[in-house]
Subunit: 208 residues, 2 copies
DNA sequence: CGACTTCTGGCACAGTGTGCCATAACCTCA
DNA sequence: TGAGGTTATGGCACACTGTGCCAGAAGTCG
């Protein structure tokens, strides 16, 4: 999940040296591209970091400067998606019920242009089926959840102990994960639609 | 989470040779005990498998015969808890609404005798705060969720594509995780109570 | 005793991730 | 042209994880 185009966040070194210094040989995106291709060909565990580095024309050591983990290479877009989620929530009209805002913002933050569809599907497949990758998901999931929780807490004027805010955060995450799994099983349907359905099922609506 | 006493499942070799052969020097439980102690003292990442093995009086190689991963040592009780969850669901009266059954069974499957309380808290802390451990949680979470989903699907007479069953499964898991996190922040409260509250908030009840 | 079974320990090996350091490639300013 | 600063790279050594392989220990049974 979290598949979408956008500007990479942390690992990005950029292809151009704008502040002087030696220009980078590659970029986080380029590495991610190469890696994902190899993963799809041979399977995640059958591709070593050396393989990725070699295919990208850099050294192993350099790879680990762009990504701190072999699995992290599949989460390049995550910071952009999280940022978009945050922005969509912040831009929502204050009088709109928070449940509605979330049900609208979450699918949109993870939507992608049509030409990226198969790419996103491939990515989702890797993220959801490869255990080693799935495990690394926890950190991103927590962040995604935290955004929703804090949004609800702010709307409700409550603190970090608000059971409802916590519950809604978990519900949003659960719906997101569920939707991606369902999408893999039914690639003919559209991810945002699936997400919306799960969100309406899962987000506690009775409380405003 | 998933903290409770019970008979370990897979890794258990037992302390007695009942089918002939050399008797085991240790047991999965014993290893887990030693390991958890070390983790609490020095922190998960500052304890190597060699350390655990040495403290338990076995070789590194033997440790990996009991547990396939260093983190797995913290999930010894998991099979027992999953089994209990399954049993509680199976034993529920068929006329009771599935949401009620789940809200009753889930907290009970993870409840523990009072003398294990601090032990369970320590365990939960390790499971929820140490990234390397948290990551390994996904597999157990999936199983926990699957049990709930299949139970609901059976009750509703639906298949694996039933959105409601999937959503409820995710809701049960979300409530379980949320409850454990909340418990860590409020150790004075009782875990089953917290779980019940989150379950009532999160499990879609409108659908029977 | 020998035959069979199970658990153990040691070793070698591939792979991951990190710290350290020398060096390459670019900038600006003189 | 060259010096000094900055950034990226590459190589090496190292600790650790997890696995395959195999010899051998320690029981049971006939």
């Amino acid at each position: 999940m979290w598949d979408h185009a956008g500007v990479s966040g942390s690992g990005e070194r950029g292809a151009v040296a704008d502040r002087g210094g030696r220009p980078a040989l590659t970029s986080a995106r380029e590495l991610a591209e190469v890696a994902q291709e190899l993963f799809l060909e041979r399977g995640f565990e059958n591709v070593s970091v050396d393989d990725i580095a070699a295919a990208a024309g850099v050294s192993r050591r350099t790879f680990f400067r762009y990504f701190s983990t072999k699995a992290d290479v599949l989460w390049v877009e995550s910071p952009a998606e999280l940022a978009r989620f945050r922005e969509l929530l912040a831009a929502a009209p204050p009088e709109e019920p928070y449940a509605d805002v979330l049900c609208r913002a979450a699918p949109r933050a993870l939507s992608h242009p049509p030409e990226r569809r198969t790419w996103a599907l491939h990515r989702a497949e890797l993220l959801l089926t490869v255990p080693a990758v799935l495990e690394k998901a926890t950190v991103r999931h927590t962040e995604w959840r935290r955004i929703a929780t804090e949004f609800v807490a702010a709307r409700r004027g409550s603190g970090p102990d608000d059971l409802v805010a916590i519950a809604v955060g978990h519900a949003v995450l659960a719906a997101t994960v569920a939707a991606h799994e369902y999408w893999l099983a039914h690639p003919d349907q559209e991810l945002p639609d699936i997400m919306a359905r799960f969100l309406h099922l899962l987000v506690p609506a009775g409380t405003g």
